[in-house]
Subunit: 148 residues, 2 copies
DNA sequence: AAAATATATTTGTATATACAATTTTTGTAG
DNA sequence: CTACAAAAATTGTATATACAAATATATTTT
């Protein structure tokens, strides 16, 4: 992916700007890939992430605020996102007995099964996206990303 | 920015997945920064990019399809995006005389002036976002991004 | 030249997201 | 104990985005 080619400008771009634009372009490509492979499962990237967070809790329920904290993309209405998962039967929601302000969200067996299939598709697309980068380069990239 | 810290999972993540998640997290941070500084100008990142593309054409008008091609984030309705810029007086639109299917979009003086101010703000936030990376690291990063 | 096809843009609609206001419950100061 | 503030989630609303269908003009085919 070549920045200059895509944005086709003659004057050379300052390194900072160039980096940011480059980054946004790559991100866009990644998003396209991911949403394409998640489409058959009828979940968004956000929903997929929430399912993964829930699985990571191994039965322990999560309430909305903790979900929100850990979501890759912050959004104010986790409520409605969970609604979607609920209507697909992927999660369960119940009022927390010890603190009735909170709600407890847990992943269902059905959700776990669907998630397993998504995982396969996801690791396929990850491989596809990263196919031109060696292990060394991936580690280098992670080191750089860590500095942000 | 530390992936593990944010997604708080105990089992270690495969390098591929880790890279993608890391990437999405950083992108999110970048987007937050950028939309924060563009907010006072009442333009979205997309609109800002379109203005930059138009400026780059130095008076030569651009039609919607070429705008769409060069936009960082693809979207089907460039029409409505241009509407927004139009209502702010930042661009002009007129039917192309040689091919009446096309419309020609040009940036106005007012748009150029606003854009100059946005540039200052933008290069400030770019600096802020990238403050922990050296020139060398930025070049390294661009080299890696180029492989996507 | 009429019909079919392609190009360029616009519009409709459903869903996603951001932000603010509201509701419900809990905790705390007087 | 009442009043007030804080916490957690939900709802309302405006805007953004994705995708498909529709419109208008131009080009090609027969």
């Amino acid at each position: 992916m070549n920045v200059e080619e895509i944005i086709r400008t003659d004057k050379k771009i300052p390194l900072n700007s160039r980096t940011i634009i480059h980054f946004l372009l790559v991100n866009n490509k990644i998003n396209e890939h991911i949403s394409r492979i998640l489409k058959p499962f009828d979940v968004s990237l956000q929903q997929f992430n929430v399912l993964r967070i829930l699985r990571g809790r191994k039965g322990k329920p999560a309430n909305l605020s903790t979900l929100n904290e850990r979501m890759v993309t912050k959004m104010s209405n986790t409520t409605r996102l969970v609604d979607k998962l609920l209507s697909k039967g992927y999660v369960e929601r119940r009022v927390c007995p010890s603190n009735r302000r909170k709600v407890e969200i847990t992943i269902t067996t059905q959700g776990n099964n669907a998630l397993k299939k998504m995982d396969v598709a996801m690791s396929g697309v990850e491989k596809e996206i990263l196919k031109n980068l060696s292990t060394d380069e991936l580690e280098q990239l992670n080191r750089l990303l860590h500095k942000f």
